[in-house]
């Protein structure tokens, strides 16, 4: 008879309020019907004698269906004394309709199912559960409800019928085959009606809310076992047990014999008990496992939000608010848990998921052409970036994406970084369109740059090809800021044409000041150029450096390295002292995405500046 199978296709049938009451009246011929009603001026969940007593709209403060599915004082079996002891089973459960249960209470029935059907199923509960038809009805949360935090403000199954209010009528959602036959039997007109489209159900709004999803509570409590908050609420707690008695999912019980006065027989009954009571966790040798109210309140919270979650993957709390609504001491689970959550955040702020991918917003301060289709962008970041020359930032244009750019400026430029951007793809073209005052996203700086301190005291040879100058400019600015610590500094810079030299003002100034030796070369012929022609390796020929104490920094197109590397080692600079820029399309900058890997080397973490000795054995390093 108990066909509690969920219907494969949801069925939504319109019905008027009159038809609902008629359904109740008809059902009373075959079932005991229980619902919210007023009795002597107060609301109770109780047996209906008159269908018109049924309230379908009532505040969430009446008893839960636990009162009928798992009643207080439930007979388990009867015994007769007088002569031989005889045991008699309890009668079968009364067929009953629980009419008008709020979504949270339907969720609570599922928790009772979890706990009481686990292992050897509790047959007394099962009998009542199977003999009971559950009819849900929608509700309005009050100030104590926090169902929205636990996802119990709506219910998708676990009922036979559910009544949704829809303007001046109801839509009856049929949940199970049993619900459908119940409707066919007692409200055939409704059952025969054309199905309506399902109501689009919006999540409800509650004033009380947990600051985090329920999943966060397990770890929170795990870490909070010794927290002083348990003593605090223990000191406030009266131990009256109201919280557990009214809880729709608390079911702990005690078992007692009730002897008839004539001593001829009696029954063994179970009665609701409470973990908040003295002697609940009594030990056989005397004493109690949870001897004070702090231990007992902690146990209640752990059971609700941790222990049963770990077992059934559902919090054993449905956010109905009964415990806080009726607690004289004002112990409110939302307040307790939110305070623990707030303290946890303070101690170790949990980053918002995806935070490391979220750029800071930077303002464009300068956007000027550098020539040869390259633009200089000077960005103001929200804080001073810490970086070594040779590292990079990831720049976002929202809607187009993000790309890495090596930093062209030196460290110690307050909150600024400069980039040299060639218009090559969508994103870099968008960067070219930026004006001062525009905003871009910036992550980083990321990566490993030149070890400037290690370079101090040596001669420094910089070899740049084309756009490769960008990263070396950063190094040069760092070196020049402490020029006296270095020996000779020589920049060899090759470009495809005289127009293609970047940062000309810098080059001119350095040359004029004589602080470094700048040597330029143009590949191919051009009428206007009176300097040397050819590739940059030609400039390596006439160098009068003390090579054994020279370090080299090389940055340029991949082909260039293949010629310069052997030449530099040939000059006597050891591979450990040759630094190469191996930048790739570094996507995440966090060593995760895998796009910048060269064999097993992660460029964004270990590079982009790498020693020749680190990469010369890597087959995938095209620069080796």
């Amino acid at each position: 008879m108990a066909d509690r199978r969920v219907l494969p296709e949801p069925l939504w049938l319109p019905a008027t309020e009159v038809e609902i009451h008629r359904l109740v009246r008809a059902a009373m011929t075959a079932y005991e019907v229980v619902g919210a009603r007023e009795r002597r001026g107060r609301l109770t969940m109780d047996r209906l004698d008159d269908p018109s007593d049924l309230l379908l709209s009532y505040p969430p403060r009446v008893h839960s269906p636990k009162k009928f599915l798992f009643p207080n004082w439930e007979k388990l079996f009867r015994f007769r004394l007088g002569g031989r002891v005889q045991l008699e089973a309890e009668h079968t459960a009364v067929p009953r309709v629980l009419f008008g249960l709020h979504p949270c209470d339907l969720h609570a029935v599922r928790i009772l199912d979890d706990c009481l059907f686990d292992g050897q199923a509790d047959s007394a509960y099962r009998a009542k559960r199977e003999a009971s038809i559950l009819v849900g009805v929608d509700c309005e949360p009050d100030d104590h409800c926090f169902c929205t935090s636990l996802g119990t403000d709506r219910v998708a199954d676990g009922f036979d019928l559910f009544l949704h209010r829809d303007a001046d009528r109801y839509l009856v959602q049929v949940g199970t085959a049993r619900g459908r036959s119940f409707l066919e039997r007692f409200a055939p007109a409704v059952a025969a009606r054309q199905g309506a489209p399902p109501l689009p159900l919006q999540p409800k709004k509650t004033r009380k809310r947990l600051a985090r999803p329920a999943e966060a509570l397990v770890g929170l409590l795990e870490a909070g076992y010794e927290h002083p908050i348990w003593t605090e609420i223990g000191d406030r707690c009266l131990g009256c047990g109201t919280c557990t008695l009214l809880c729709p999912s608390c079911y702990c019980f005690t078992v007692e014999d009730r002897l008839h006065l004539d001593l001829e027989g009696g029954e063994r009954v179970r009665a609701w008990d409470s973990c908040q009571f003295d002697q609940f966790a009594q030990l056989s040798g005397g004493g109690e496992a949870r001897a004070n109210q702090a231990d007992r309140q902690r146990h209640r919270f752990f059971r609700k939000y941790k222990y049963l979650w770990e077992r059934y993957h559902r919090t054993a709390c449905v956010g109905c608010g009964r415990c806080s609504r009726e607690c004289l001491a004002g112990i409110d689970p939302v307040d307790v848990l939110n305070r623990l959550l707030a303290e946890q955040d303070e101690a170790a702020p949990a980053p918002a998921p995806g935070r490391e991918y979220q750029p800071d917003l930077a303002e464009v301060v300068v956007a000027e052409p550098l020539g040869a289709g390259v633009k200089r962008l000077r960005l103001r970041l929200p804080r001073v970036p810490a970086f070594a020359p040779g590292t990079f930032v990831s720049v976002s244009v929202f809607g187009l994406g993000e790309a890495p750019f090596t930093i062209a400026s030196g460290p110690g430029d307050d909150t600024h970084v400069e980039l040299a951007v060639r218009a090559a793809g969508n994103l870099s073209r968008a960067l070219h369109r930026l004006e001062p005052g525009d905003t871009v996203g910036v992550r980083g700086p990321f990566g490993n740059g030149f070890p400037v301190d290690e370079l101090a005291g040596q001669d420094v040879l910089l070899v740049a090809g084309g756009l490769g100058l960008v990263i070396l400019r950063s190094l040069l600015l760092a070196v020049l800021s402490r020029r006296r610590e270095f020996g000779r500094v020589v920049l060899l810079y090759g470009a495809a044409s005289p127009d293609a030299f970047l940062f000309r003002d810098d080059l001119r100034r350095w040359r004029q000041d004589g602080v470094i030796d700048v040597r330029l070369i143009v590949d191919g012929s051009d009428g206007g150029w009176c300097g040397p022609h050819g590739d940059v390796t030609r400039l390596l020929r006439n160098l009068d450096l003390d090579f054994p104490r020279t370090v080299a920094a090389v940055s340029g197109p991949a082909d260039m390295y293949r010629f310069t590397n052997p030449l530099l080692t040939g000059l006597g600079i050891s591979p450990e002292r040759i630094f190469l820029n191996l930048e790739r399309r570094m996507k995440c900058g966090l060593g995760k995405c895998g796009k910048c890997r060269i064999n097993d080397l992660c460029v964004c973490e270990e590079g982009p500046v790498l020693r020749y000795s680190q990469v010369r054995h890597l087959r995938e390093a095209v620069e080796r």
Partner: protein, 245 residues
């Protein structure tokens, strides 16, 4: 093996004995459990040995103490029946009055002194084996205690507070009506009869074994009660308990 039982009244209103006499429905079964051999309200005679003595009322003055000691001497078990016997009940209020003035107010000016002295609970005079609390006692609870003694089991009173029975009866909290209530610290067993009837719990059954006084006082203070108000609230039924001995 039926118990030989006696009922004894000391200073009190005899309402607890009346409650017992009102248990007509249970008389047949009771007759199977006990032989009532002494009961001034319904029987004459007595004076022999007893299995169980039910003592009602507070103990006032040397005469009552002597009588009680005699009852104790010839009874295997002695039960304090009702608040007056159990905790001194309302009789304890006499402590706030001058005995002569009180005597005059009750029995008329110039009435000869009764020599009652300060009322005491039974346990202040003789050892007590079991208690049936309440003003008056709950008939059902009296039967349970009696039954426990008949089968040789220690009777146990509910350990929890009246709040529990209030919630089970789905009664709205008295505090919600803006009144204070002793329910959170008073022993259950009455079925929250007073809140059910629209009153508040005045504590006639005495405190639970382990009343959470500190949080309770805090709640009373939150509801605007002064220390005097709190004391006045307790005084009605809970003055004598544990303080007279």
């Amino acid at each position: 093996m039926k118990l030989r039982a006696g009922f004894f009244d000391f200073t009190g209103c005899e309402g607890c004995q009346l409650t017992v006499l009102n248990l007509e429905d249970a008389f047949f079964d009771l007759a199977g459990l006990i032989d009532v051999v002494e009961f001034r309200e319904v029987l004459t005679g007595g004076g022999g040995p007893l299995d169980v003595a039910f003592v009602e009322g507070s103990i006032c003055g040397p005469h009552e103490e002597a009588r009680l000691k005699d009852v104790r001497r010839r009874s295997r078990l002695l039960v304090a029946l009702g608040a007056c016997a159990d905790t001194t009940g309302v009789n304890a209020l006499a402590r706030f009055r001058d005995p002569e003035d009180l005597n005059g107010r009750v029995y008329g000016p110039g009435a000869p002194p009764r020599g009652g002295g300060r009322p005491k609970p039974v346990s202040a005079v003789v050892p007590v084996d079991a208690r049936v609390p309440g003003c008056p006692v709950d008939g059902g609870e009296f039967l349970q205690v009696l039954q426990a003694l008949a089968v040789g089991r220690a009777p146990n009173l509910p350990g929890h507070a009246v709040c529990v029975e209030c919630k089970l009866a789905e009664l709205p909290c008295v505090f919600d009506r803006g009144e204070v209530c002793l329910g959170p610290i008073v022993r259950a067993g009455c079925g929250a009869r007073c809140p059910e009837g629209g009153d508040r719990c005045r504590g006639c059954r005495g405190l639970v074994d382990n009343p959470r006084s500190t949080p309770y006082y805090r709640i009373l203070e939150d509801h605007g009660l002064t220390e005097d108000d709190v004391l006045a609230e307790f005084r009605l039924f809970n003055l004598g308990e544990g303080k007279v001995r």
